[in-house]
């Protein structure tokens, strides 16, 4: 089933075209990888489908609904969650509070409700706390729940960001370079987390430079270059696509 589709999606900044006429789709339950050199428009593309940027032209269709012009919070409400390439945790808040924020869309309490704090608000607070702890357990950070997020190691911070995104209970999870700057062991942990999420029918799109991970994890790849989609296909097809090799991977052989 089609979960997300873009038609001729385009974003320009001033005279610069960062994303140009991209047609793509994501099916429910798949893991899709976006690769390509830096500045190719991958992160801009993420920003478009998570509503942080508004497209200059083109369409985004999510769950058969046109979501054109949706803001970030509306995309989140619709069920698209994301992490950031440069880790954006709220470092002075606790680990748990960060995840609680992720569950914002699944609460109802308003200002006056919070001040009066009736039974419904108390119950809701209890429920989201419990669910947030579950997300923390999933990524193995439950013991740090009450520490400030800033004290976590780099790898732990990435996991916390994923837990926070999962707390939205998203239909589509966008991971922007989830293993950047991690050592081999941490990369393995992220890979098994992604596999676990897949086995629970999550749909994931990820941007990644780690070819080992991309080739092993993704069912389908899309290659970006200069804002355009230059190729797509299975990892095997991409690895042998001459265009991709020339633009991005370099010739086999001089790699060793």
């Amino acid at each position: 089933m089609r979960l997300l589709e873009t038609e001729k999606l385009t974003k320009t900044f001033g005279g610069l075209t960062a994303v140009s006429q991209v047609d793509m789709h994501v099916d429910s339950g798949e893991i899709l990888g976006l690769i390509g050199p830096n500045g190719a428009g991958k992160t801009t593309f993420f920003n478009l489908i998570s509503g942080l940027y508004q497209p200059t032209a083109g369409e985004i269709i999510f769950q058969n609904q046109r979501v054109h012009g949706f803001k970030g919070y509306q995309m989140a409400e619709a069920g698209i969650a994301r992490t950031f390439q440069n880790i954006r945790l709220l470092s002075s808040l606790s680990v748990l509070e960060n995840v609680l924020l992720g569950s914002y869309t699944r609460g109802k309490a308003g200002l006056w409700g919070a001040i009066l704090k009736g039974k419904r608000v108390r119950d809701e607070e209890k429920r989201v706390r419990q669910e947030s702890m579950e997300q923390l357990e999933l990524v193995g950070l439950q013991d740090y729940a009450h520490q400030p997020a800033g004290v976590l190691s780099y790898g732990q911070q990435r996991k916390l960001e994923i837990a926070r995104a999962l707390a939205i209970y998203p239909a589509l999870l966008l991971l922007d370079e989830p293993t950047a700057g991690m050592n081999a062991e941490e990369v393995e942990e992220i890979m098994s987390l992604v596999r676990y999420l897949k086995s629970h029918n999550k749909t994931i799109v990820l941007i990644e430079h780690n070819m080992h991970l991309v080739m092993n994890l993704c069912e389908r790849l899309i290659v970006f270059d200069h804002g355009e989609k230059v190729a797509s296909g299975s990892p095997q097809e991409i690895q042998t696509n001459p265009l991709v090799i020339e633009a991005y991977l370099g010739k086999e052989g001089d790699d060793e």
């Binding site: 050199p37 830096n38 991690m182 050592n183 081999a184 080992h212 020339e246 991977l249 370099g250 790699d255």
Partner: protein, 239 residues
Amino acid sequence: MSKQIAVKGLEVSYGSVEAVKGIDLDVENGEIVTLIGANGAGKTSTLQAILGLERVKAGRVEYLGETITNQPTHRLVRRGLALVPEGRHVFPRLSVNDNLSLGAYTRSISKAELQRLKEKVFLLFPRLLERKQQMAGTLSGGEQQMLAIGRAMMLSPKVLLLDEPSMGLAPIVVKSIFQTLKRINEEEKLTILLVEQNAKMALGLAGRGYVMENGKIVLQGSTDILAHDPGVMKAYLGL
């Protein structure tokens, strides 16, 4: 061979967090030395501390046999110590040409000499010549990295420090940049200290290397040996 840079017992910290916990490191004349390790290991802090961009809490930094600990950056630059920073830091709203001129800011040289230096950079990176009048902010990541290196070369430095030149670049661009670094080292006999996360590329280029973890140096030696160390292979080469 003489020591260009010697670091002894270097410590750097941010508030209560110790980023560098007492390391020794030296770079001899004409060699390429690499400092590898994962993100947050303290590599960038080490480089920045050498160049006075971070405060050295304890220990000593020597340059050409003279102690330079905690000297202001601009003075060290004047003495021929150039750093190509992480994230490139080109001046985005200045042209490629102006960026290069600024590289020679501290040097009192004639216009002709300035021009000669620029031409040398254009020989190393012909792409920059094509984009001479373009604003640096509009260059691609790879071109910006070339500009950052070229700009540092305008100083005619005695030692070139590079912080993650491969970051965020396509493998094919990284290869080309590393080849140029090799050329610079061979042709100009320029001493290079290279900080990298991309251990594979770094170990391929450098003659000697240091492996950093959690603010400490855990391994050092010739890159041939490091590349075959089981620990390094597993942790950094993904083998």
